[in-house]
Structures are given as structure tokens and as C-alpha cells.
Amino acid sequence: MADTTQAATDGAPRRDFLMLVTGAFAAVGVGAIAWPFIASLQPAKDTLALASTDVDLAPIAEGQAVTVMWRGKPVFVRNRTAKEIEEARAVPANSLPDPASDQSRVQKDQWLVLIGICTHLGCVPTGQKATDARGEFGGWFCPCHGSHYDTSGRIRKGPAPRNLDVPQYAFTSDTKIKIG
């Protein structure tokens, strides 16, 4: 690089400028090339097209629960009994690890819709079947690390940091919901 005859007064800043411009172009180029490759790793269009699931609630009797798949995850749909709803509402929300009222977690009192994945490390809690362990609060129990969820799907005891998530869903009729 010492072969510039114009010496340091003029040659060096110009060379610095050229180096910076070249470097900037290279950085933009690398970014532009990396973009499609990284984007290709994101969910494809057909994966996104499977992003909603319809559930018919009519066959689900009171006290019964079903599990449906949505985006490859289990979604719990539970037709709660009056006793379960009452239990969930009897607890003062701000005494819970992740405070949330039962009303804020349902659209219709009897229908509880949850993503069935423990917020600790992603196991599927038990409690969908009447014979399953439901934990100390009558909701769900995660066998992996012992998290107890109540009848509103809120974390009550154990290592999970958050309540079971409520997915986006809407009632398309009195007995049908669309998740996602």
C-alpha cells in the first residue's frame, strides 16, 4: 500500500474512503445474499396455511375435554363444570404466581381453550382424561417437573413461570370455534 506517489496528504484519505465504500458494499452484499437463505428457514407458505383449526364443541359433554392439533401443538378444549368454574373464580387473582382472572382467560364461562404445553419446558400436562392426574388444583399436572395448573389453566405450584397460554380463537357459531 506504500506505492501511492501522492503521499499521505491526498492518497491516504482517498484510499480510506475507497476501503470504507468497498467494505460497505461487501456488507450489504453479504446481507442481501444471506437474507433469502435465512428466510427459507422460516415457516413456508403451506405451513402457514395450516395455521387455523376448526373445532365442533357440540359433542363435548360437560366435564369432558378434548385435545386438538393446531400448528403441530396440542390445544386443550374443556367444557368446565359449574364447580370447576366456581373454584377457578374463588381464588383472588393477585395471589397467584402469574396473576390473571378466570374471566380474562375465557370467552364463554364453560369453555376453556388452552395451548396444552407446559410453560416450563414444553411437555404436555396430563388432565385431559378423567383418569389422568390433575394435580392439586383439579386442572392439569405436568409430569415432567411437577407443575400444577388449576381449572383455569393457571400455574399454582411448581417450576412453570406462566399460566398455560390461551390461543387466539373465535366462536364462529354457538357450538363452533376457530383456533388461530
Binding site: 433469502p36 437463505f37 428466510a39 427459507s40 428457514l41 422460516q42 413456508a44 407458505k45 403451506d46 405451513t47
Partner: protein, 422 residues
């Protein structure tokens, strides 16, 4: 070799710390920084670097394609269509990979032409040349198996025809074919093993390329004059002179590549490969990919099954012995008044074979293919060996600097001493 820390010349403390323990920076500096390179390269000397870049592009795009590809006869075609339609930028990655194969062959054919025209295969670079032929054979195998993966009509029938070539060999022929197929026809086991090998071979190519470059850095590069550098006045450090020159070629290469990918992505392909494979219906006119057409033409030029297959394989295997067929001590065709037109005619023959390979094997096309095939082999087996004895080459320049600098004086003692290489 002495034991202990390497005596690094790097000043940056982190670089120095690594370099003392593992002198990769010293090695890179020696092989790609100060590496003495003949100063009279023309743009033909870009194509080695371009081939290296293409290999990296093919490996990168291939890895991303394989993440969405399913190597099963019932899924393969649809998974490729899903890449084209649903995967984000899947169309781009696949079109780069598809046309990258064509770019790879264009670049490598020019690279081989360069080697033949300037006599780069001659002593002491015979092994370098032979490793290059190995790379080319591996490339052909990789490209062929890659073309099978989309499982379209051309994939299937191309695979059927090419694997059946091996049935021409007596006694072991059918055994080899069943070994390739993993069954009694091209089917799911074939697709599975082709996918596996298509993923493996590029890394084998990468290894042989490393050997190719390692051999190159022992003998040093040939140059358009075909005479060895006689001292530092005949060479330039690789960086920045040839990194810069290669970059210029790289920009032009990317423009051509981009035109193909964005404006004519299917120009070099065959539309029949967008029809799912059907083992019951052969397309009326099967042609291999364009880069295999010369050998396909040679295959069809011979009216005998085994003869055709042998000539086809022989047309490339003969390159291995090229350093010993061409006995002329003069490398560059610039100084070979007879070999030069004969070689250029050979090049024309190669292109004629490429053209005729895409035509139906009937009528005058057969005659053209036969004449071109005959000359293809005659050049290697008759003309070159004879010219080595009969030709009177033009006088060679005294040094690389002479023609460049218009006859500057040679430093004393430089003339006889070949350049020292580490």
C-alpha cells in the same frame, strides 16, 4: 521440523497468539498473499477461482435445498414443487442450484480449454492436471445424480439410460447395474442412494480441489507464454494483484449467472422434467443435460453397444494420459504453429458434438457425429504424438518480462535458475 511455537510475523496479538500455535495465518499469507504468481496472466486464469466459488455456491444452496427435499419416489417431485411455490425464496435457491450446475460446467470447460491451449498439463504439472480430470469425473457423477433427484420424466429416464450403460460390460455388467439400482429398475432405492451420494460427492470434490490447489502451489501456475518465471521480476504477489483481477472476472461471472437465474432459469433445462416420473412411458426424445451432450453424441455415434460405451468413457479417460501423448516441450499453443489450428479444430469438434448430441440420432446427424468423434480421438492419439516429433515451434521469449516490458535486461544469473518455491 522444530518443535515449539511458530515464529509468527503477525503483530495483532490475537492473530499472533493463534498463529504461533497453529500457523494458518502464515500459511494463508504465503499461499494467497505473497504467493509469487506469473505477472502475465490473461482472463483465462480467472476460471479456477470461479470454479471454486461455484463449488461453494452449489454446496451452500444444496444444503438449504436438502432441508426441504424428500428423497422418496412418492414425495420427491412434490417436495421440489413445494420448494418452488411454498418455501420462502425456495424458487431462488433452487434456480441458483440448477443453473449453478450449468455455470459450473461452463466455467470448468473454459478452465480445461485454458489448460489444453496453454499446455498446463505438461511437466511438472501432470499430477495437477490428472487431479483436475478426477474432479471433472466427480462433477459429472454429482451432476447426473442431482438431476435425478426432482424425479421428473427426464430424471427417471436419464437415470435409466445412464445406469444401463454399465450393462454393456460383459460378465459384470448386470451385476453393476443392479448394484446401482438396488433393485431391478430405477426405483426408490436408486433415488435414496443417489441422494446420499449427491450430498457426499461435493465434499469429496472439495477434498480433491484441495489437493489440486496443493499441487498447484508446488509447481506454481503456468502462464500464457508457457515458460517458467525466471525470478521475482517475472512474478507478482497473488494479493492484491490477482485477488483484484479475479474479482473483476467474478463480477462478470455473477452478471451472467444472474441473467440465467432471473431471466431464463429454465432455458438450459428440459421441460419434460416438470412431468412427474412415469416408469411406463418414455418421453419421445431423451436428452441429457447440455453439459453431457458431447459424450452422449460419441455414445450414439458408435453402432455397437459396448464400443459406444467404451468410447464415451474413453473420451474423458484419454485426458489422463494427455501429458504423455503430447511430447512437445513447448507448452503454449502461441508458439506451436501446427498444433494450434489442430487444437482449435478439436475445440470446434467438441462443440459440434455438443450440438449434435441434442439432435435425433438419424440421417446426416449420425455422419456428423462420427466424423467429429473420429477427429476427437485422432487429435489425442495420432496428431499430438506426431506433432511432438514433426512440429518446429516458434522461438520462445527469453523470459516473461521480455515481451511485457519490451526487452528489459535480465538480472545476472536469473536466466538459468528456476524460481524458488517453498
Amino acid at each position: 521440523m522444530s518443535i515449539g511455537l511458530h515464529n509468527s510475523e503477525f503483530k495483532n496479538p490475537v492473530v499472533r497468539w493463534i498463529d504461533q500455535r497453529m500457523p494458518v495465518f502464515t500459511m494463508m499469507q504465503k499461499e494467497y498473499g505473497t504467493f509469487p504468481t506469473p505477472k502475465n496472466f490473461n482472463y483465462f486464469w480467472n476460471f479456477g477461482a470461479l470454479a471454486m466459488v461455484t463449488l461453494l455456491i452449489m454446496i451452500a444452496t444444496g444444503i438449504f435445498l436438502s432441508m426441504n427435499y424428500a428423497a422418496h419416489t412418492s414425495l420427491a417431485f412434490d417436495s421440489v414443487e413445494r420448494i418452488m411455490r411454498d418455501v420462502n425464496f425456495g424458487w431462488l435457491i433452487r434456480y441458483i442450484h440448477m443453473n449453478g450446475a450449468s455455470m459450473f460446467f461452463i466455467v470448468v470447460y473454459i478452465h480445461i480449454f485454458r489448460g489444453m491451449y496453454y499446455g498446463s498439463y505438461k511437466a511438472p504439472r501432470e499430477l495437477l492436471w490428472m487431479l483436475g480430470v478426477v474432479i471433472f469425473l466427480l462433477m459429472m457423477a454429482t451432476a447426473f445424480m442431482g438431476y435425478v433427484l426432482p424425479w421428473g420424466q427426464m430424471s427417471f429416464w436419464g437415470a435409466t439410460v445412464i445406469t444401463n450403460l454399465f450393462s454393456a460390460f460383459p460378465v459384470v455388467g448386470n451385476f453393476i447395474v443392479e448394484l446401482l439400482w438396488g433393485g431391478f429398475s430405477v426405483d426408490n432405492p436408486t433415488l435414496n442412494r443417489f441422494f446420499s451420494l449427491h450430498y457426499l460427492l461435493p465434499f469429496v470434490i472439495f477434498g480433491v480441489v484441495f489437493l489440486h490447489v496443493a499441487a498447484l502451489h508446488i509447481t506454481g501456475s503456468n502462464n500464457p507464454l508457457g515458460i517458467e518465471p525466471k525470478g521475482p521480476q517475472d512474478t507478482l504477489p497473488f494479493h492484491p494483484y490477482y485477488t483484484a483481477k479475479d474479482s473483476v472476472g467474478l463480477v462478470v461471472y455473477f452478471i451472467v449467472f444472474a441473467v440465467l437465474v432471473f431471466f431464463a432459469p429454465n432455458y438450459l433445462g428440459h421441460p419434460d422434467n416438470y412431468i412427474p416420473a412415469n416408469p411406463l412411458v418414455t418421453p419421445p426424445h431423451i436428452v441429457p443435460e447440455w453439459y453431457f451432450l458431447p459424450y452422449y453424441a460419441i455414445l450414439r455415434a458408435v453402432p455397437d453397444k459396448l464400443g459406444g460405451v467404451l468410447l464415451m468413457f474413453g473420451s474423458i479417460l484419454v485426458w489422463f494420459v494427455l501429458p504423455w501423448l503430447d511430447r512437445s516441450p513447448v507448452r503454449s499453443m502461441r508458439f506451436r504453429p501446427l498444433a494450434r489450428p489442430f487444437f482449435l479444430l478439436w475445440t470446434v469438434c467438441f462443440l459440434v458434438l455438443l450440438w449434435v448430441g441434442a439432435k435425433p440420432a438419424e440421417g446426416h446427424y449420425v455422419l456428423i457425429a462420427r466424423i467429429a468423434t473420429a477427429y476427437y480421438f485422432a487429435y489425442f492419439l495420432v496428431i499430438l504424438p506426431l506433432l511432438g516429433r514433426l512440429e518446429r515451434p516458434l522461438p520462445l521469449p527469453e523470459s516473461i518480462s521480455r515481451p511485457v516490458l519490451g526487452g528489459g535486461p535480465l538480472p545476472a544469473g536469473a536466466a538459468a535458475k528456476p524460481m524458488e518455491k517453498a
